[in-house]
């Protein structure tokens, strides 16, 4: 849910990175955090387990610049990917303005991608959203590994509408900002429509 403050001339939007466990959601955020100028970002908060698995969410605020005199702030969140944290995933989607689905390109993770995508649709619906109507991007991550599925096969299985698809290697940053730009553009375009 966008928050528009005319008094301080700010637009605040919420973007959520979704996907199966270990697909690279936190790595996306970490790369954005590491490569953004200190003035444009806040702290990266990670609520993680002792073994560095996301327990509740990761969060970082990012300021992209000014549009028509309004500062645009994006609040980036990840969800915990492990199946049993479903209640937390549902909570984090509340008030979302745009979603990035991070798919793991490894052959053995395809079932997990499909299950997580169904889970995203269900949890969006539980919050009153429709995946077909909200700003949405599909990222095919881990394209540097050897046991990966060709992009067209992944797209055939995972693409839900005409959403932009980006190939990525989040650990080195490939495709990370293209993905963010893609979803942020859709969120701002949606704002224009409303």
């Amino acid at each position: 849910m966008t928050f528009i403050n005319y008094a301080s001339r700010e637009i605040n939007c919420k973007i959520v990175y979704y996907g199966p466990g270990l697909c690279g959601k936190t790595t996306n955020l970490q790369y954005i955090y590491d490569t953004t100028a200190p003035t444009a970002k806040g702290k990266l908060i990670s609520l993680a387990t002792e073994t560095d698995r996301t327990l509740f969410f990761d969060f970082m605020p990012l300021e992209l610049g000014t549009v028509r005199g309004f500062k645009t702030r994006f609040h980036l969140y990840t969800v915990p990917g492990q199946v049993f944290y479903d209640a937390s995933r549902k909570l984090i989607l509340k008030g979302v303005d745009g979603v990035v689905f991070v798919a793991d390109s490894q052959e053995e993770r395809m079932d997990a991608n499909i299950e997580s995508l169904y889970n995203l649709e269900e949890n969006l619906s539980a919050n009153g959203y429709d995946l077909l109507k909200i700003p949405y991007v599909l990222q095919l991550n881990k394209r540097d590994l050897s046991n990966i599925i060709p992009p067209d096969e992944m797209v055939a299985e995972l693409r839900r509408k005409d959403e932009p698809v980006h190939e990525a290697v989040a650990s080195t940053g490939t495709g990370v900002f293209d993905t963010l730009k893609s979803v942020a553009k859709q969120v701002l375009t949606e704002l224009r429509k409303s």
């Binding site: 928050f3 008094a7 992209l64 909570l91 900002f177 553009k185 409303s194």
Partner: protein, 160 residues
Amino acid sequence: MTDAPIIMHEEQFQQLRHILNKLRLDSFSRVVFLVDKNGQQIAAQGDIGDLDTTSLASLAAGNVAATGGMARLIGEKEFPTLSHEGERESIHICIIGRVLLVVVFDDRSSLGLIKLRVKQASRDLSAVFDEIARLAEQRKGSEESLFAEITDDDIDSLFN
């Protein structure tokens, strides 16, 4: 259904700041701020210093969301207030409709006093948020959105 965006205008923003400031003084608290339930900070007053209110806002919303989830599991609608007491600093959170009132205080105040003052401020804050909702409804369709003028170039320029 999802909530409509919160659209804040100058007059209501100043009213909120005034209520928060009064609450801070009356309750002898350190910082008082308002956050929407999705974690976005709406307004803050007090001795903020190097306190990271953006992160605090996000975590307060996560905290309320998680305890709200627990409440529903045991058959409650929500837990309307939450308090966390530390050795020196404490936090009190109160749910007011779709927003959270977060008060950070130390041993210059007490939880009892905070709760009393928060209760009084809640009524005033509710009235302002009712007015914000009423204005949003009234202006719906009658006012050309400022953002309708945003061009593709404006959006592209953010990423260059």
